[in-house]
């Protein structure tokens, strides 16, 4: 294993220390239990948005804490959901009296830990709602699985719902909006290489030089199918087609097209994918009205990409364009 780290067991702690030193104007870091929260928290009268998950997906979630997005993020160990005490303390810290919305990605561990934290927080008199993100169309059969995973759409949901909370919407309105985003967005990802979890020290799966894995999640877990590597245009088709068919997205729809790097794939390749996806959508009569391109929800150093489509309307466009000021995403301020 070749990594720019000190000791595997110190990776998350030292990352948090770096974030604290780098962005004191935007965020504060609480240690033991670990969470990152808005420097001006709690914001009185505003619904607080709390998310979290395993580390290794940077900039998600900690990079999205700040004005117009998350109030707190709880980082677990690498690829491991945070524990209930983290989520509980974060929830208490950022509650501004208008309630707290938990944005939870649909993984067994995340669901259980956030559920336990929400129960504990409610027991302490805090109003908590939770919304689950499950946008991954690679999981075909939700009857016999833990359900679709939460992947790329999480980033878009955090931005859009964060803007709504900033506008002063109620907890119920924010939760309903999050559910609307979840119902209108779909994603799928692929890997060219595996990734190495620091404390494991070797790649999570073996992927021969000439093969790729289609339908991966964001934890280095193997995907649904493995095949010979194809040109970027073909891969883009393989990802986009199931996404479009699933919702389905139809001619006349306006969408946000999000092309995400799994960590190791450079921007030059993402633009190649974006170009092909844009053209394919155009041929289907689907109009790309907003976009996001870059490494926003990653799997350590994995090479690969994911595509997320979110059906847009005037409300979502306005919230997407609203100012945001976080370490990982900033515009309009």
């Amino acid at each position: 294993m070749k990594k720019l780290i000190n000791k595997p067991e110190d990776v998350v702690l030292e990352e948090l220390q770096g974030i604290e030193l780098a962005h004191p104007d935007l965020v504060k870091v609480h240690y033991d239990p670990n969470f990152i929260y808005r420097a001006d928290a709690p914001v009185k009268g505003k619904v607080a948005i709390v998310s979290g998950g395993g580390s290794g997906h940077e900039p998600m979630h900690g990079g999205y804490v700040g004005k117009g997005m998350l109030d707190a993020a709880c980082p677990g160990a690498v690829f491991t959901s945070p524990t209930p005490d983290q989520v509980l303390e974060a929830t208490k810290t950022v509650d501004g009296g208008a309630g707290v919305l938990h944005i939870v990605k649909n993984y067994t561990g995340d669901i259980m830990n956030f559920e336990m934290a929400a129960d504990l927080a409610r027991g302490e008199g805090i109003e908590v709602e939770a919304v689950v993100v499950n946008d991954d169309v690679a999981v075909e059969d939700s009857l016999y699985t833990a359900g679709r995973r939460g992947v790329g759409l999480t980033v878009l949901m955090e931005k859009i719902v964060g803007a709504a909370a900033e506008e002063g919407r109620s907890l119920k309105e924010c939760a309903d909006l999050a559910r609307k985003v979840n119902s209108q967005g779909r994603s799928m990802g692929m890997a060219l290489t595996s990734c190495t979890v620091p404390h494991v020290g070797k790649p999570t799966f073996d992927l021969p030089e000439d093969e790729m894995e289609i339908g991966i999640g964001i934890h280095g877990e193997p995907g649904r199918t493995r095949m010979k590597i194809q040109p970027a245009d073909k891969i883009t088709e393989l990802l986009l087609k199931p996404i479009v068919e699933d919702l389905p997205f139809k001619a006349g729809d306006e969408v946000l097209l999000f092309v995400n790097s799994m960590g190791g794939t450079p921007l030059i390749e993402l633009y190649i994918v974006y170009r092909k996806a844009f053209k394919l959508l155009e041929e289907m009569g689907i109009k790309v009205v907003r976009n996001l391109i870059g490494p926003y929800i990653t799997s350590l150093e994995m090479a690969g990409a994911s595509i997320t489509l979110l059906k847009m309307d005037e409300e979502l466009k306005k919230l997407w364009d609203a100012p945001v000021l976080t370490p990982g995403m900033r515009w309009g301020i």
Binding site: P33, G54, G76, A77, V78, F79, T80, S81, P82, T83, P84, D85, Y107, T108, G109, M112, N113, M116, A138, V139, E140, D141, Y144, T145, A146, R149, V197, H199, V200, T204, F205, G217, H219, G220, E221, P222, R224
Partner: protein
């Protein structure tokens, strides 16, 4: 002479599990987890996300640091402390689930100075139900439940047959082992392995494996090396 209301046929228990036995079980299990960290993580890498061994080891290391202050407490308090410690240190799905096992054991064994086989069977059954409720998994889903459920069933059967203390524990360990091995051909329906669909078949479930270790460690550390009933 102890009579369990749940197992009226069983009237001859002279061997019981003391607080020291419980502490010894937890400490030995922590050691087993440390020794098998890489093995559990390897199993998880094949069908999950390669963190089960590391998570369990982090949790039980934390448990070991908490135990010295617990040695004068009662069995129930010790078990609950283990549960709370795991809840705040393990993370993942294993954190809430293993935490649930120990919290349920602690709840069921409240006020017990020592526990007999029937108590243990009841407590383990409560733990199994707790895990099923928390994780919404049933036997055959390729999860911890596949080791836990047969272990409980074997204990109850051994009680009904009036087997010795050592034999009963041994039977539950064997059943957990068989349950663990039986996860190999299964297609996962819960947890992260379920995303693999058919590709999860052919791999042993890491959660069922760590659960087998838990039951097996109990059998080994509590064996009295006799066949007294």
């Amino acid at each position: 002479m102890l009579v369990s209301p749940d197992f009226p046929n069983v009237t001859r228990f002279t061997v019981a599990i003391s607080k020291e036995d419980v502490l010894n079980w937890i400490k030995t299990y922590a050691q087993v987890i440390a020794e098998n960290e890489a093995f559990l993580t390897d199993l998880d890498a094949q069908i999950g996300d390669a963190d089960h061994g590391a998570n369990m080891n982090r949790g039980f290391k934390a448990v070991l640091t908490k135990l010295p202050a617990q040695e004068d407490k009662d069995i129930s308090t010790i078990l609950k402390t283990v549960g709370m410690t795991l809840l705040s240190t393990v993370g993942g799905a294993g954190g809430p689930l293993y935490s649930t096992i120990f919290l349920e054991l602690g709840k069921t064994l409240a006020d017990k100075e020592e526990i007999d086989l029937a108590d243990w069977a009841n407590a383990l059954e409560a733990a199994e139900k707790g895990v099923q409720n928390r994780g919404k998994a049933v036997p055959g889903d390729k999860t911890m439940v596949d080791a836990l459920e047969p272990a409980v069933a074997a204990l109850k059967e051994a009680l009904a047959q009036n087997l010795s203390f050592d034999e009963a524990l041994q039977k539950s360990a064997v059943a957990a082992h068989e349950g663990m091995l039986a996860t190999i051909p299964l297609v996962a329906r819960k947890g992260r392995a379920s995303y693999l669909g058919e590709r999860s078949a052919g791999h042993q479930d890491p959660g069922a494996t760590s659960t087998y270790f838990l039951i097996d460690t109990a059998a080994k550390t509590w064996a009295k090396q006799n066949t007294h009933k």
